[in-house]
Amino acid sequence: MDKNHSGIRVGEVTLKWFIALHLSLIVNSLAGVASKMAGKQKFLSFRFCLCYGMVLVITFAFALAWQQVLKHMSLTFAFTNKPITIIWGLVWGVLVFHEQVSWKMILGSAVILLGIMVGVSGDSGESAGKSLPPEGGKENV
């Protein structure tokens, strides 16, 4: 938990670590972009290895960043914020791959996000962490 009580706070954390948390989540969401790029390449080609390597590097970088941000907040707080990554999947799909998004998809995503936040925020930090480790499934929402 963050012992520094000075400055602007967002919930239980300082603004600085709140931003750090969300930057790490944005980086994590980019693994999906790299994964899709890799999927479009010929298997084991140079570009494939480059894109798949990016998936692994991003996943590893996120694991390190996640470990650092967790020093400054409870697991519950971090896990309640983590699902925001799914929204970044929508954003990258539109911006990078020019995919179509309907209002039903946006509304459905918002409801799913709410469902995750309700479910995760109800647990103690310990159980949230045990049930949902940072891997969250490889390319990690």
Binding site: S35, Y52, I86, E99, G115, G122, P133, E135
Partner: protein
């Protein structure tokens, strides 16, 4: 059974599912006592779990070749349903009422997304 895009969506869901199993495997091993720190990581269960994570990255990548990335908000969060359910089945863990409500809301969201 699954054709076209549905087949690749199914591959992605399988990827999320096996990844969820791997998470529960890590939890099962974490519940055990180990004589050394090294044995906490270097044991068949943990190594298998990480192999499954690795495999799931390939399955996801294969699926993403055809499935739009914008589908990730509905497929990736399925781990939030799979992990607790597998935890109940294999570890006899209990799901809190709040988490059940959250899972119900998620299912509604998945239905809206799929309309």
């Amino acid at each position: 059974m699954f054709e076209g895009l549905g087949r690749y969506i199914a591959v992605w869901i399988v990827s999320v599912f096996i990844s969820s199993i791997a998470q529960v495997m890590l939890k099962m091993e974490a519940n055990r006592e180990h004589s050394t720190k090294l044995k906490e990581y270097m044991n068949p269960m943990v190594i298998s779990a990480y192999f499954i994570f690795f495999l799931s990255t390939f399955l996801t990548m294969y699926a993403l070749k055809y499935v739009p990335l914008t589908y990730s908000p509905v497929i990736e969060p399925m781990s939030y349903i799979f992990v607790p359910v597998i935890g109940v089945l294999l570890l006899k863990e209990k799901i809190s009422k709040r988490r059940l409500i959250g899972m119900g809301i998620m299912l509604i969201g998945i239905a809206i997304f799929s309309l």
